[in-house]
């Protein structure tokens, strides 16, 4: 294959990775930014989204589009409810203590993963894409659905940004992030904001998973890679910075796509990790993060 089409394929692959990564990492970043909780179980909410998408789309008969759309709405809601429950039952009782919540979310990771293994099983199960249009380029074919993931993710990112910057809920969240004690003094129910943010973070991961599952299948171990990559993205972009998260996701996704097409996927991972190290050394607050107060 010639250089041009080769690069095009690499960029397309990279953009799909970026799109999913941006949504997942945004969830992680929000939770950390507002609650100062490092949610190690984030990848498991991603996995739950995919597993539920499979359950919902197989439970609903008829055209695959119906099942997929139902999954796109229901799976994140269920995952959000589970996250809310976990927040009430676990994180709140630990008073969001940073060290204790890390240990607690590691525990949640294993519990969710093993529950999925027990009730869903070890198989990788496919979900039918809502449409299976294959775009025929002169050099190779490409899945139309994959392109739609990029568009859907971009829309969701814009929507999240609008909510955060233009609505009262967003204002309350930002106030809590800026200074939770003062926010509480001004009558903001910080406790409820935390619960909402934790659920929202999990829902973003679940949406990303529902989008990716028709091209990758639901499997109980699928949460590990997204978790790792999300951490990389969040560290590079700056914890709690929406803009940084998106930029870092595109950067990591594209470099992963291009480097793995032209060289090797292992090299792509090495470079991403090296980038994290460099950012931590020279700009610990991340590319777009603000220095901690």
């Amino acid at each position: 294959m010639h250089f041009g089409p080769h690069l095009l394929l690499a960029a397309l692959e990279g953009l799909v990775t970026s799109a999913v990564l941006a949504l997942t990492a945004l969830g992680l970043s929000l939770v950390f930014g507002v609650m100062r909780v490092v949610n190690v179980a984030h990848g498991e909410f991603f996995m739950l989204g995919a597993v539920l998408a499979w359950a919902i789309s197989t439970a609903i008969p008829g055209h695959p589009t119906v099942g997929f759309l139902a999954a796109l709405v229901l799976a994140p809601l269920i995952v959000g409810a589970i996250a809310l429950l976990a927040e009430r039952l676990v994180l709140r009782r630990l008073n969001y203590n940073p060290e204790a919540t890390i240990v607690a979310t590691i525990g949640m990771l294993y519990i969710i993963q093993q529950l999925a293994l027990s009730f869903y099983g070890p198989e990788a199960r496919p979900v039918e894409p809502p449409f299976s249009y294959r775009i025929l380029l002169p050099w190779f074919g490409y899945s139309g659905y994959k392109l739609s993931i990029i568009a859907a993710s971009a829309l969701l990112l814009v929507a999240t940004w609008l909510v955060l910057t233009r609505t009262k809920i967003g204002l309350i969240m930002r106030a809590t992030q800026y200074d939770s004690e003062t926010a509480q003094a001004f009558g903001i129910p910080v406790d409820r904001v935390y619960a909402g943010v934790f659920a929202l973070g999990a829902m973003l991961a679940a949406i990303a998973a529902v989008l990716i599952v028709p091209i990758s299948q639901a499997h109980y171990l699928m949460g590990q890679d997204p978790l790792l990559l999300s951490f990389i993205v969040v560290i590079i972009g700056g914890l709690g910075s929406l803009r940084g998260t998106v930029v870092a996701a595109v950067l990591i996704g594209l470099s992963d796509g291009i480097i793995s097409v032209f060289f090797s996927p292992t090299l792509a991972k090495i470079i991403a990790t090296l980038l994290v190290a460099m950012v931590l050394v020279f700009r610990p607050q991340g590319l777009f993060g603000t220095a901690s107060r």
Binding site: G141, L221, P265
Partner: protein, 434 residues
């Protein structure tokens, strides 16, 4: 770190009488559980304990579940017919997480804690390679069902056997003539980047060369990869056959993305069933495979010429004509590999009977008796087909099936002969000390 919330303060919780009673009840329940039954009979009728190193979790979990089902069926059949040397057989299962480190620990646990007679049942080659030294150190016979070439390479040790499934080198050698004659001469290989894949990487090129065909590109893919399109540009345009063998949960994605990349204008495909074990061949996106060919150890779909033994085996394990669990058509089996568990257990039975095996003190005798075996006739104990066994390299040789995907089924189009897969022994385990 201060413990503001009393998070680590154990003194907070005091043991109440009720909790103590509950604990007591739980302990009583445990001792009543079947695993804890003490055998009051004489030593001679105590069960023979087979330590089953199972991939219950990790990337091999789908295989592990079917390996357990098949082994349980074989053990039931053996016990119904009077057990081994008049003693019942009992499986002791431990999960190795499909992880080599855990695997070695599990072997140690079987030898020292459970005191099983043998260890059995491992599939993934990296786990076998990781666990083999532990079996050698503990001098416990280790019967694997892995299909990798590592046992036959004689690079492991005298306690490791693979008598129930053929190895990759033999499989490739016996199928290469068919590939060169029917699929094409210019082959691109796609394989997982670890031990099992390396067997394919190393043995396919010489096997094809001997048939006047050649491997023009080799693409290694990490076993944890979840997206594959980025590797496909490396496939040379002049490729006539793509030879694919993938493992792990993402195999379906691999085939789907290959389909999107090529559409209907694809090279011939020849795959190892490993790429689709435990996966429904009629899953969305797999239409692309229609007309392609696969290696199958034992056919997934019931064939017109199935022997009575094959039918009885399928019924005992509980798989229907489509190779899925009876009663759950979505629960597709790992038919190409799991027959090896059934056959291996019968080899163990034969060897234990030949050795007059009484207990762990006879393990060396069991090793020698296994090495003395030469042939397994096709029948209820060996439903996949007849096999020969080379005691020097601890490896069996058998027939292979090449199946075509058509009409949403796999139909066997070619069966190789045992002789097609024989090769020169690379060493001799029997010269090692016991």
């Amino acid at each position: 770190m201060t413990d503001k919330n009393g998070f680590f303060d154990l003194s907070k919780s005091t043991l109440s009488r009720r909790t103590a009673l509950k604990g007591l009840a739980a302990c009583a329940g445990l001792t009543l559980a079947p695993g804890f039954v003490r055998y009051s009979q004489a030593q001679s009728s105590a069960p023979i304990k087979i330590g089953f190193q199972s991939h219950r979790t990790g990337i091999g979990a789908a295989y592990g579940r079917w390996y357990e089902k098949t082994s349980a069926a074989a053990v039931k059949a053996i016990n119904d017919a009077g057990g081994i040397n008049g003693r019942p057989v009992e499986l002791v299962i431990e999960d190795d997480g499909t992880d080599p480190g855990r695997g070695a620990e599990v072997v140690g646990k079987f030898a020292t804690q459970h005191k099983t007679d043998i260890v059995f049942g491992t599939l993934f080659s990296h786990v076998v390679i990781g666990s083999a030294p532990a079996a050698g150190e503990n001098k416990i016979p280790y019967f694997v069902v892995s299909e990798g070439h590592h046992v036959a390479s004689t690079k492991l040790n005298r306690y490791v056997f693979q008598p129930g499934i053929t190895d990759v080198k033999s499989q490739i050698q016996s199928m290469a003539p068919w590939i060169a004659a029917n699929a094409g001469k210019k082959v691109t290989q796609i394989f997982p980047d670890f031990a099992f894949g390396y067997d394919h990487r190393d043995y396919l090129p010489p096997a094809l060369k001997a048939q006047g065909a050649e491997v023009i590109a080799q693409i290694a893919i990490p076993p944890t990869e979840s997206s594959f399109t980025k590797y496909f540009p490396q496939i040379p345009a002049e490729t006539e056959v793509i030879y694919h063998v993938m493992v792990g949960p993402a195999v379906l994605t691999f085939v789907k993305e290959l389909g999107e990349f090529y559409g209907s204008n694809r090279p011939q495909l020849f795959g190892f069933m490993d790429s689709l074990e435990a996966t429904d061949i009629n899953s969305p996106g797999l239409e692309f495979l229609d007309g392609s060919h696969f290696w199958e150890g034992s056919p997934r779909y019931a064939q017109a010429d199935d022997s009575a033994a094959q039918k009885a085996y399928r019924a005992a394990v509980g798989i229907d004509d489509n190779g899925a669990a009876v009663g759950d058509p979505k629960d597709v089996s790992t038919a190409s590999h799991m027959f090896g568990c059934w056959e291996t257990l019968y080899v163990v039975k034969k060897a234990m009977e030949d050795a007059g095996y009484k207990g762990p003190e006879d393990r060396a005798k069991l090793v020698e008796a296994t090495e003395a075996l030469t042939e397994f006739a096709e029948g209820p104990e060996h439903p996949q087909g007849p096999k020969t066994f080379n005691g020097k390299i601890h490896q069996c040789f058998g027939i292979q099936n090449i199946s075509k995907v058509e009409g949403g089924k796999l139909t066997v189009v070619h069966k190789t002969k045992i002789e097609d897969g024989l090769y020169e022994a690379e060493g001799d385990y029997t010269t090692q000390a016991l």
